[in-house]
Symmetry: C2
Subunit: 224 residues, 2 copies
C-alpha cells in the first residue's frame, strides 16, 4: 500500500460505522484513530470544521463526512461495487440511505442513542422513559418497513448488497449494541442482519467496546 | 419532450428547492404539484412512504428525496455538470452538501423555519424568542463560514457552480423569504447569493408566495 489511510471515528457513531463497513467491503486497510467527538478535540476540528465523525485521511487528501467518504471510495475503489448499475436502482439506493440517515435517525436512532449512550458519555443523568418508549416504537415501525422491503428483495435496494444495507446496518447495529432491537418479532429483518453480521467487514464492529457502556449479551453473537 | 416530468414539492422546503434549482440549471421542463406535506396527503405517501418532499416522477420512474433526484439528474442529464470532475473535488462538494443539509439545518434553518413557518402552517402559536435568537446566531456563524470559503473560491466548492451552491442557496433562500438573513454584515456571501439569484434557475423560487406567509420586501429583488 502506497498511501497511508487513517480513519478518525467514534465506534458507536452510525456515520462512522458506514465508513468502516465500506472500507471493509472494499478490503482497504486503514489505521484507526478513535475520537471522543463530544470533547471537540482539535485534531478533529482541524480536519473537519463541522466537528463530526468520520474523517478519512489518505495521504494529503482529507475526506469529511460519511457521504463524501462513501462516494469517494465508490469512485476510486470501484470493486466490489456498493452501488447498483442503473440510475434508477442507484436512486433507490440513495432514497434508502436518506431514509436511514434522516427518518430512522429522527424517529428512532437519535432518541435511543441520546437516552442510552450520550447521556452516559456526557453524564447527563438517567434516560427519559417517554423518549425511550417513543424511540422503541419508532424502531419497530422501521423494522416493519425493512421486512416489507425484504419480502420482495434479497437486499434492501435490490438483488445485491449496496450502501443502503450498510447505512441501515450501521444505524441498527449501534442500537443492537445497546440491546434495544426486538429481533424475534421481525424474522425477515433478523435473517438479513445475520447475513450482514457474518461478513468480514462487520467483524471489527462486533469487537467494539466502550468503557461504561457494555454491549448487549447477544451483540457479537452471529447466531443471536 | 417524450416523458412527462412532474415534481411534487412544497415551495418553502429547502430540499424541494434543491430539486427545482437542479432541474432549472439542467433546463429540464417539468410540471409542478404543490404538496401540503404536513397534511400527509395520500398522493404523496403513495409515491414516497417517508412522506417527505421532493418527489420527481418521470414516466414510470418515481424518484424520492433530493439526494436521489439530484444524483439521478447528474447521471442521466449530465450537461451542464453540477458536480466537479475529480473525486477529491466531488468529495468536497458532498462534504458541503452534508454541511448545509445537516449542520446548517440543525443549528439555524430548522429553528427559524419551525418558529416562523411551521408554527403558522400548523397554527401552533407565536414564535419562541429564545429559539429565534439561537437560530439567528447559528445563521450568522454559517454566513461567516460561507465568507471564509468564498475568500479563496469563486463558488462554495471551487471554481464552478456545483450542487453545494444549490444546497446552500436552497436553505438560505427560505430563510431569506422570511426576512432573517443579515446580508449587509456578510458582503462576500451577499455577492455570491446575488450571482445565484440572477440565474434563470432561481426565477421560479423568487416568484413563490405562500398564503399567510408573505415574503420579506427584498426577497425577489435582484439588487437587494
Amino acid at each position: 500500500m502506497n498511501v497511508e489511510r487513517i480513519l478518525h471515528h467514534f465506534p458507536l457513531d452510525p456515520a462512522s460505522r458506514q465508513a468502516r463497513l465500506a472500507l471493509g467491503e472494499k478490503r482497504l486497510a486503514f489505521t484507526e484513530t478513535v475520537v471522543r467527538y463530544w470533547e471537540r478535540p482539535e485534531t478533529l476540528t482541524a480536519l473537519n470544521p463541522s466537528g463530526f465523525t468520520p474523517v478519512l485521511v489518505e495521504g494529503d487528501l482529507v475526506l469529511c463526512e460519511a457521504s463524501a467518504i462513501l462516494g469517494y471510495l465508490e469512485e476510486v475503489h470501484a470493486e466490489p461495487p456498493l452501488m447498483p448499475q442503473t440510475p434508477a436502482d442507484r436512486a433507490e439506493t440513495r432514497r434508502l440511505i436518506n431514509w436511514f440517515d434522516r427518518k430512522f435517525a429522527f424517529e428512532a436512532g437519535d432518541l435511543l442513542l441520546h437516552e442510552k449512550m450520550e447521556k452516559r458519555l456526557h453524564r447527563l443523568g438517567a434516560p427519559d422513559l417517554a423518549n425511550l418508549r417513543q424511540g422503541r416504537e419508532g424502531l419497530r415501525a422501521h423494522l416493519a418497513y425493512i421486512e416489507t422491503l425484504l419480502a420482495e428483495r434479497d437486499w434492501l435496494a435490490g438483488r445485491r448488497l449496496t450502501l443502503a444495507d450498510l447505512a441501515a446496518a450501521a444505524h441498527l447495529s449501534v442500537i443492537d449494541y445497546l440491546g434495544d432491537v426486538p429481533w424475534a418479532a421481525f424474522p425477515g429483518a433478523k435473517t438479513w442482519y445475520m447475513k450482514l453480521k457474518s461478513r468480514p467487514s462487520f467483524r471489527p464492529l462486533l469487537a467494539d467496546r466502550w468503557p461504561g457502556i457494555p454491549p448487549a449479551r447477544h451483540y457479537d453473537d452471529l447466531d443471536f
